[in-house]
Structure formats: structure tokens, C-alpha cells
């Protein structure tokens, strides 16, 4: 049960930061997403994000900062195992499930559904 509370708090906090950025700066959602991925990757690069993940679980990995975290973590892991080439292959290897899923499920959803009229 603790898992869920922690995930809620950490995930909620990260989303709230995103909301504050949207409201108080003129950043568009696209820029927020790019910023979050980049920040997550950098935080993992300097070893901070792992601690947030250890505490928050899915609350830290589900927001897009977690996507950056997984990319960076994968790159570092592959560098350890395969050397220089790992920097090139590690990131996408570790996120392949999410990215391929997003492309395939996204494509399928776009085929099957039509946009709902907006009010």
C-alpha cells in the first residue's frame, strides 16, 4: 500500500511541476515534454533520478522524466557492457518496449477511431 502512496505523491508532484511551468511560463506542452525528458536523462546522468525512482517507483518512471531516466540508464549500462558503442545502442534498447508500443498502439488507435467533435 505504501507503494501506491509514494507513487501518487512523487508522480503527482512531477505533474504539478509541469502544470506550474505551463501556467507561469509560456512553455507549450511540446516544450514541457521535451524539457522533462531531457531533465530526467540529465538527472540520471548525474545519479540523482535513480534515488527518486527507488523512492517513488512508478510515480517516478511513468512521467516523461522517467522516460529520460530509462534512456540514460540504458545508455550507461550498455557503455559498461559494450563500451563506446553502448552509448549509441543502450538508450533505445532500454525503451524499446515503450516506444514500439507507442508507435504500434498509436497507429492502431488512429486507424480504428475517429476524432470526437470538440465542444
Amino acid at each position: 500500500m505504501m507503494d501506491y502512496l509514494k507513487a501518487f505523491l512523487v508522480g503527482g508532484a512531477i505533474c504539478a511541476v509541469g502544470q506550474l511551468l505551463m501556467d507561469f511560463t509560456k512553455l507549450t506542452p511540446a516544450r514541457i515534454l521535451v524539457t522533462f525528458v531531457t531533465v530526467g536523462a540529465i538527472l540520471q546522468g548525474i545519479g540523482i533520478y535513480q534515488k527518486i525512482v527507488d523512492f517513488g517507483g512508478a510515480g517516478a518512471t511513468t512521467p516523461l522524466t522517467g522516460f529520460g531516466y530509462t534512456l540514460a540508464k540504458g545508455a550507461i549500462k550498455e557503455v559498461k557492457e559494450a563500451g563506446m558503442l553502448g552509448a549509441l545502442t543502450g538508450g533505445l534498447k532500454s525503451t524499446a518496449g515503450g516506444i514500439s508500443g507507442a508507435i504500434f498502439f498509436g497507429y492502431m488507435a488512429a486507424l480504428l477511431f475517429n476524432p470526437k467533435s470538440k465542444k
Binding site: V10, G12, L33, A41, G106, Y107, F113, N114
Partner: protein
């Protein structure tokens, strides 16, 4: 990227915005919805773990499942309704990434399946991948050099 605005300008900006109470409401809505979405991911992750998958498999299963949910709910038109209330709470989680793929893809279907659906899918996801992957390569490279 964060220091684009000087702190003085930023303070001024906040002052102009502060009186409107919607900002607190938005923030709370984002917190709650974002938190709940992460709890769904936690549930999937715990379930996968209880089936004995290792850590990497668990995170792939969770990411793929969340992306599926995001895409499916977007197709049904439910995700955008959540988004109206939740703002960043629905944009920042990975389900929002799926939403950013499906929404434009559906919208531009009439422009065909190559330049409509195929290309427009990446109108938001493209930049995310470009920056995310590039930064991860830079980090891996730096790590390699420092590790020498």
C-alpha cells in the same frame, strides 16, 4: 533552459498572475490526476513483478501497457476529456506521450495514411525522441570518457 527568464522578470510575471485562483486549482488537479495515473502504472508494475518478471521486463511491460491505455482512451475520446480537467497531469505521464501520438494521427487521417497518419503521429513524439535519444547518447559518451 530554465533560466531563460531572469528571476526578476519571473517574479514580476508571477505577481501578475497570482490573483487568479485557477492556478492553484490547476496545480491540484494535475497533482491528483498525475498521481492516479502513476498509481495505475504501479499496479501494473506490481502485478508484473508478482508473476516473476525481472526488473527490466517489468518496466517494459508497464511502459507498453500504459502506452496502450493512453492510445486506447484517446481513441475513445476519454483521454482528452480527462486532459481538460487535468492539464499537465495528463500530459506529463507516458500515457500523455501516447495521446500526443494518437490525437494528431486521427486528426490528419483524411490527409492519407503516409503523410497524414504516418507523419503526423510524430509531430510531438518526434521532438521528444530526438532530444531524449540525443541526450542519452551524450550521457553515455561522457560516461565512457570519464570511465576511462
Amino acid at each position: 533552459m530554465k533560466t531563460k527568464m531572469s528571476s526578476k522578470q519571473y517574479e514580476q510575471y508571477i505577481k501578475n498572475k497570482m490573483p487568479k485562483p485557477a492556478y492553484l486549482k490547476n496545480c491540484v488537479a494535475a497533482f491528483i490526476v498525475g498521481g492516479l495515473i502513476c498509481d495505475v502504472a504501479q499496479l501494473i508494475s506490481n502485478t508484473a513483478k508478482s508473476y516473476g518478471y525481472n526488473q527490466e521486463a517489468v518496466s517494459s511491460i508497464t511502459a507498453a501497457s500504459m502506452v496502450f491505455l493512453g492510445a486506447f482512451l484517446t481513441g475513445l475520446g476519454i483521454y482528452d476529456r480527462i486532459g481538460k480537467f487535468a492539464g499537465a497531469g495528463s500530459i506529463v505521464p507516458i500515457t500523455g506521450f501516447a495521446n500526443s501520438i494518437v490525437s494528431p494521427a486521427m486528426e490528419f487521417k483524411r490527409e492519407g495514411f503516409v503523410f497524414g497518419v504516418g507523419a503526423k503521429m510524430f509531430i510531438l513524439a518526434g521532438p521528444v525522441l530526438v532530444y531524449g535519444v540525443s541526450v542519452s547518447i551524450l550521457i553515455g559518451t561522457i560516461y565512457y570518457i570519464l570511465g576511462k
